[in-house]
Amino acid sequence: MLKRLAEVLRGMGHRIIDRIWRLGSGARFFLYTLIYSGESFRRIHLTIREIYFTGVMSLLIILVSAFFVGMVLALQGYNTLQKYGSSEAIGVLVALSLVRELGPVVTALLFAGRAGTAITAEIGLMKTTEQLSAMEMMAVSPIARVVAPRFWAGVVSMPLLAALFSMVGVLGGYLVAVPVIGVDNGAFWSQMQANVDFQADIVNGVIKSVVFGVACTMIALFEGFDAPPTAEGVSRATTRTVVNSSLAVLGLDFILTSFMIVT
């Protein structure tokens, strides 16, 4: 009995130490990425290429989702607002939900699924096929050549994607609210213009999306770089990317929102 208990405790301790260890090596990896960023900025075409792969290639899924999210928001919002006779406020509701929350959060979740997994799988496979070792043996740092450009591409893409998400979402909301439901066109836009604050809403939304960009891209890169060089290792790393990124985004969103609302 005692032996069994000791075993359980030992296993638990082992797992906790392992997590802390990984957190530490993740932090070190992040630091190295920042240090080597200078080298990668000198070859800016690498970053631009990655912006194409992570940002531009994610446009379709992000924009289509945004359109539907905006339409659903308008439907749900109208349904509730009309009970209180304030259906003109629909424009504000759609815009604020998108700019403050749904834009950054849903974009980050979709980004983790679309671009994050691609990054993890690509780097994991590069490691498995010894491409990263080969680079190192050619006196080229894989962090400068492979990791840093992808990192900055993610950090640049995410706020832009989130902004597009909000924009297309508002458009989707408009299409449902004004032509379909029949809310007044002028009221829809003027209420939105009057009640969306640049600093409190838009800037804070951008800050969120930058933070999510750093978190999602870093998690995807680290998981790929840290993946055991086997088929199973890469597949597990890809799964971990989605799970960890999603949890990180939701957790960080709560923390950031509390700071933004309090201050």
Binding site: Q131, A134, E136, V140
Partner: protein, 268 residues
């Protein structure tokens, strides 16, 4: 003392308390082709990684051109690595770059040259491995042997003084094997480089190597010119060189008695 470009001195290396190498001494004279041989899992590839500074020895040291590899900082290590070319077991070509760009990669990274000179250099290296015509192909379009040759062209792109080969013959058909074999020797002599060849293919290695080290159980079991080793009467060397099934290296991985194992049923 002879002019050795690489020296391994009393080297021990292991993971998690298990030693893979136990006090290895080797020297690699300039201009020669030296083969490191041994069974699968005897830590041959690890030796190459130790020479390249990708791993740090537990004890002892590796010196390249007189400098201790694991004591270099990043800058020093990268400086040393520019003198080394390494051919990985399956080529390790960058799959997102064409053959041409793969060979141009180290040149672009380390030298600020006009495109016309890069082109000339890449063409020369590709011509040396006979694949000038394949320059626009992607790595996925190449056969195993061709990929290996492109990787070789990339490894010699910066005219290294040490070329390391990790199992260059694995998975090649007989023709590709002879081609690779001849290339290793002729490139070594043309570049005036030193080649370190890690392999378990006795016939090929013996046909081109000047000197051979046989590694087993973490130590250098035997060394000498190919002809000496072929004539060796040491039981292990004899078994290895002639590929005999039974000898000092048993056919069976250490296991309990066969009959008892079978009778025990499913609990094993």
């Amino acid at each position: 003392m002879a002019d050795n470009i690489v020296e391994i001195d009393n080297l021990s290396f292991g993971y998690k308390g298990r030693l893979l190498h136990k006090g290895i001494n080797m020297s690699f004279p300039r201009g020669k082709v030296i083969a490191i041989m041994g069974g699968s899992g005897s830590g041959k590839t690890t030796l190459l990684r130790l020479i390249g500074g990708q791993l740090v020895p537990t004890q002892g040291e590796v010196r390249v051109e007189g400098q201790v590899v694991h004591k270099q900082d990043r800058h020093g290590l990268f400086h040393l690595r520019r003198k080394m070319g390494m051919l990985f077991q399956f080529g390790a070509l960058f799959t997102d770059l064409s053959v041409y760009e793969n060979v141009a990669f180290p040149i672009r990274e380390h030298a600020d040259l006009p495109e016309s000179i890069i082109r000339d250099l890449v063409m020369m290296k590709l011509n040396a491995v006979g694949l000038r015509g394949a320059r626009n192909l992607m790595p996925t379009e190449l056969s195993g042997g061709m990929a290996r040759r492109v990787a070789l062209a990339r490894a010699i792109a910066l005219d290294p003084s040490i070329i390391m080969y990790d199992e260059p013959f694995t998975g090649l058909d007989p023709i590709s094997m002879s081609v690779t074999c001849n290339l290793i020797r002729s490139l070594n002599d043309a570049l005036g480089a030193t080649s370190i060849l890690v392999t378990h293919d006795v016939k090929e290695a013996f046909s081109i190597a000047d000197y051979v080290y046989i590694v087993a159980n973490g130590v250098v079991e035997a060394e000498g010119a190919p002809e000496e080793l072929r004539q060796s009467t040491l039981p292990f060397v004899h078994q290895f060189v002639h590929g005999e099934v039974d000898g000092p290296v048993p056919f069976h991985y250490s296991a309990p008695d066969y009959r008892r194992d079978m009778l025990r049923g499913q609990d094993a």
